[in-house]
């Protein structure tokens, strides 16, 4: 078998769909993707995951929608409570999808619902449009809405019904995005797999709160540095338990070193979130570093993926 080398070594597949890079832009932190045109080299990005799309338009939450978490003069995390502002599935299909399809990367539509049947409804609308997305990511983990999201993502029965319903309406890859909040994550993953889910995004933001002397508590989802060790632990446990599944690691990735930790834990790919705000080219720079590092070490990414788990078990002895 010929050695896979160069940029090809970084490609991966989910359900027959090929992604050219294991560095993906996370939902909610890349707009609809085309906002980054002219700044970011999309050929180095495996996919853009869109803002969450619901059946009907949503105004989102009133401002303020973000709060900064600082410790001793360092801002280490961001709390957001955007509330899934989006134009609704039909307007998204009509106005955003044609523009998105011009971006030279894969498009993963992030789906959100207040009711279980909202998820297959959005997929049905997008499947029937002229430019359907390449894959779907079911958001079963948004902490910022009164109904739906995380409410479904911690309930095995809801997860089962939602994935089953969605599978009926598309043959494209289905990713399920969970919260790191749930203790029953392995059970939820197992159920999703049995209903036809193809990969998992681990994870969404962590439900959190910050106190402000003037404005009181700000409740939102936390992203940033503190998320990495929490999510890394989830990825390790899932990859050890289900060695053959595809996990996309997402949480606190700012540079190549952060990304490689997720690969060592067994992630097939990673998503870059809040880091894109500080440096819109973060994903591109991580791709370049990864490619350079593989060239230097003579290893393939496939050799690296999961290799950290073996070291961990050695330390246990």
């Amino acid at each position: 078998m010929a050695e896979i080398s160069g940029a090809d070594a970084l490609s991966f597949e989910i359900k027959g769909v090929s992604f050219s890079s294991p560095i993906i832009l996370a939902s909610g932190t890349a707009g609809y993707g085309y906002e980054l045109e002219g700044i970011l080299d999309f050929s180095k990005v495996g996919a853009v995951v869109t803002k969450g799309i619901s059946p009907k338009p949503r105004d989102g939450n009133p401002p303020p929608r973000i709060a900064e978490f600082s410790v001793k003069g360092f801002q280490i995390a961001l709390l957001n409570s955007i509330g899934l502002q989006n134009p609704g599935a039909r307007a998204f299909a009509k106005y955003h999808m044609p523009k998105l399809k011009k971006i030279p990367t894969k498009i993963i539509a992030n789906i959100f619902g207040e009711k279980e049947r909202d998820y297959p409804h959005v997929i049905k609308v997008l499947e029937s449009c002229e430019n359907p997305p390449d894959a779907y990511e079911l958001n079963l983990s948004c902490p910022n809405t009164e109904k739906g999201g995380i409410e479904f993502g911690v309930n095995p029965k809801s997860v089962q019904r939602i994935v089953r319903l969605c599978r009926k309406f598309t043959s494209r890859p289905i990713l399920v995005k969970f919260s790191p909040f749930s203790e029953i994550l392995p059970q939820l993953v197992k159920i999703s797999l049995s209903e036809g889910a193809d990969a998992f995004t681990i994870s969404n933001t962590l439900p959190s709160a910050l106190w402000d002397k003037k404005q009181g508590f700000f409740k939102g989802g936390m992203s940033g540095y503190p998320l990495k060790p929490v999510v890394l632990r989830c990825v390790i446990e899932l990859c050890e338990r289900f060695p053959d599944i595809k996990i996309i690691g997402c949480g606190g990735i700012y540079n190549f070193d952060d990304a490689i930790e997720y690969f060592l834990a067994g992630a097939t790919a990673v998503q870059i979130g809040t880091a894109t705000f500080l440096n819109p080219r973060t994903a591109e720079e991580i791709y370049d570093s990864l490619l350079a590092e593989l060239k230097k070490s003579g290893k393939t990414l496939r050799e690296i993926i999961g290799s950290g788990l073996k070291i961990r078990s050695y330390q246990k002895n």
Binding site: G60, P63, L78, T274
Partner: protein, 255 residues
Amino acid sequence: MNMFEAKIIDKKEVAPSTFVFNLDCKIGYEPGQFVMISSPSIPWIIPKPFSILSYDDQDGLSILFKVYGLWTEKFSALSVGSTVNLVGPCGSGFITSLKRYGFSGNFSRILFVAGGVGIASIFSLFKHFDGAEKVLVFGGRTEKDLVLLEKISSLGVQVLVSTEDGSAGFKGRVTDVMQKLDIGDFDVILCCGPVPMMKAVSDFAKILDKPLFLAMEERMACGIGICFSCAVKTKNGVKLCCRYGPVFSSDEIAW
């Protein structure tokens, strides 16, 4: 819009805790647009927005800001020669926003209203509307909030000043000046300052039945329309301050 690395080539404390920084960065812009700045020496995970005060080939890009938190405190302490990261120009400025509402921009008399460092968004409009007669109502809490007055006067702008403590000009708020002094007739009002001030100016503009355009402010995490943090409620739905704005027609805002 582009990404730059820029050196701080000059810094001046123009009033207590209020700074003008000059950055060596070639950038085209329209008045009201802004840049997002981050610094490798400030441990922060989101960049911060700054209105573009002015740009020319000699002085580079100028920004005006007041220290109001930890980030701006650290930023103000950076020395000349330090490098910062910059994304911009961001948003839709006054000219784009005026065009959106069918205004060609051929005004003969313009009323400008600024509060404190809100003057940063307004300042380059004075040169842009070179041929028009210009009146600025400039308000602050104290005299120290009223920066760049000499420069503004040298641009042929008639300046009416108000301070809440009476340390300079008319004692009161900008809307008091607008009500009590003879500011004459004008074609349009262009405004930037704290949101409560802009709301008061908006109420006043409604009474006078004059078009008003405002540079709004909201918490931002990206400045380029990817995070959806900076929501502004308008009569046509929620709009992003960083992309559709920051300049809005007052009529469009759902106050």
